[in-house]
């Protein structure tokens, strides 16, 4: 599409300036577009005078808008309960607060059996990977709840999740603890238990805006990061197989469950 073609599209429905008229005469693409646009005008004889405008009298509007009373009553009830609009970031602050609290609760409960930090990797590596998990936790929550970005790229979310998963598996200490199956089941169960509350709050907040699968995935990854972080700090088992099947796969599975549950839950608001 040339710049002239783009200008022609901007001017569809209006009188074209001479230079664009000349362009249309010589451009097959523009002839097709203007032809398609004009054809759509054929079936209706409505004109500007028949389209509703803000100048229509309120009396007329009241008669022709059957849903007005319901919507108005709902607006008044909502305003009576909460006169001032609550900014979207209140939800974000609540979610991050819940995530942080659950990290604290999870580590405190697990520390009763063998201290806070069980990861035998070098401290710098433990902290570094922990910071990356925390970054995903915050970024995922932001992406899920922020109204600023309408379209969340699948590729970006999947790439970040994949990179973090690989990082967690490859930076393990290599230290073997329990047998593989027992260790995997233990950590997967812990991951599920620690994620229940963050996931529930996440789903409740997600239902306050329109359903977007990529957003739901980002939110699920963020909620699952709570338990991923707890296990990363506490779990002494550092073999790649244990980290893959006991930490990363359950984390990804929980994110998938978040998408599924959000798609099934009713939507309270369709705002972007």
């Amino acid at each position: 599409m040339t710049p002239e073609c783009s200008r022609v599209m901007d001017c569809l429905g209006e009188a074209l300036p001479p230079e664009l008229t000349k362009h249309v005469a010589s451009c097959e693409d523009c002839q097709v577009v203007t032809g398609g646009f004009d054809l759509l005008g054929g079936p209706s004889h409505a004109t500007a005078s028949t389209l509703p405008t803000a100048s229509a009298s309120s009396e007329d509007d009241e008669q022709t808008l059957p849903g007005h009373d319901t919507a108005r009553r709902f607006a008044l009830e909502t305003l009576a309960k909460q006169p001032m609009a609550r900014p979207w970031w209140h939800g974000l602050a609540l979610l991050v607060g819940v995530h942080a609290a659950m990290v604290g609760v999870g580590l405190t409960l697990l520390s009763r059996r063998g201290g806070w930090v069980g990861n035998a990797s070098p401290p710098g590596l433990v902290v570094g990977v922990g910071v990356v998990i925390l970054a995903l936790l915050g970024a995922g929550a932001f992406v899920a709840l922020s109204p600023r970005r309408r379209v969340v790229p699948w590729a970006g979310v999947l790439a970040f999740a994949g990179a973090l998963g690989v990082t967690v598996v490859l930076t393990g200490s290599g230290q073997q603890g329990r047998a593989l199956l027992a260790g995997v089941l233990g950590c997967a169960g812990t991951e599920l238990a620690v994620t229940v509350v963050p996931l529930a709050v996440t789903l409740a907040l997600l239902s306050r805006s329109a359903y977007h699968p990529a957003r739901a995935l980002a939110a699920g990854l963020s909620a699952g990061s709570v338990s991923l972080l707890v296990l990363h700090v506490h779990c002494p088992d550092g073999t790649a197989a244990h980290l893959l099947w006991g930490h990363v796969v359950p984390w990804l599975g929980l994110a998938g469950i978040a998408v599924l549950l959000r798609s099934l839950l009713p939507t309270r608001s369709y705002a972007p």
Partner: protein, 202 residues
């Protein structure tokens, strides 16, 4: 989602804005501060256009009626998500589009077009007679055959009089992406209409 009978893009919002004492954005700001009359003004200013858009998008007048209510209830519930400095109309149409998509996703369709592609009897037709019913049906069928990614930009552009920047805002796409989709859609429509009209004449 299927299209229904359509009014026409006028490309003239100046009538509305010159008469309206306050912009949509000012009214929305007032509503966010708790003023109910601002909501009334927004509802009366936009509800009929939104209903028309949803009727064309879903192909069902009664579904559109329900979705208009859901759209404005969403507006009330999520007024805190409206970004100061952004435009109101694209935001409202984004809500309406999301509501229609969700309705389609959940299979909540109470009324369908007839096999001939017309609205069922008993639904008020707002466009004045006389009409070229055959051509109207062909246009509906042609629009129905477009993929959603092309149909929504065309409905918003041709019938709601929105510019490509506003449509981009509504759909969360770039302006050039919307133009490409509309371009392909108009191109495809012309082909489809030519075929459908030929079939009708035969």
């Amino acid at each position: 989602m299927k299209p229904a009978s359509a009014p026409v893009r006028t490309g003239d919002d100046s009538v509305r804005t010159s008469v309206a004492p306050e912009s949509d954005e000012v009214l929305m700001a007032r509503f966010c501060e708790g003023q109910a009359p601002a909501f009334d003004a927004l509802f009366q200013r936009h509800s009929r256009q939104v209903r028309g858009y949803l009727t064309r998008l879903t192909g069902s007048a009664s579904t559109a009626e329900d979705l208009v209510q859901l759209t404005f209830m969403s507006l009330v519930r999520s007024r805190g998500r409206f970004q100061v400095g952004s435009r109101f109309k694209p935001w409202l149409y984004a809500i309406a589009t999301n509501a229609a998509r969700d309705s389609q996703r959940r299979g909540r369709r109470t009324e369908e077009l007839t096999a001939e592609g017309e609205l069922p009897t008993g639904i008020a037709d707002e466009s004045p007679a006389p009409r070229d019913v055959g051509l109207e049906r062909a246009v509906r069928q042609a629009l129905d055959m477009l993929p959603e990614g092309q149909r929504i930009p065309i409905l918003l552009h041709r019938f709601e009089g929105m510019g490509f920047a506003e449509i981009a805002d509504t759909l969360g796409l770039t302006e050039s992406a919307v133009k490409v989709r509309a371009h392909r859609g108009y191109e495809r429509l012309r082909e489809l209409l030519a075929t459908l009209r030929t079939e009708t004449l035969e």
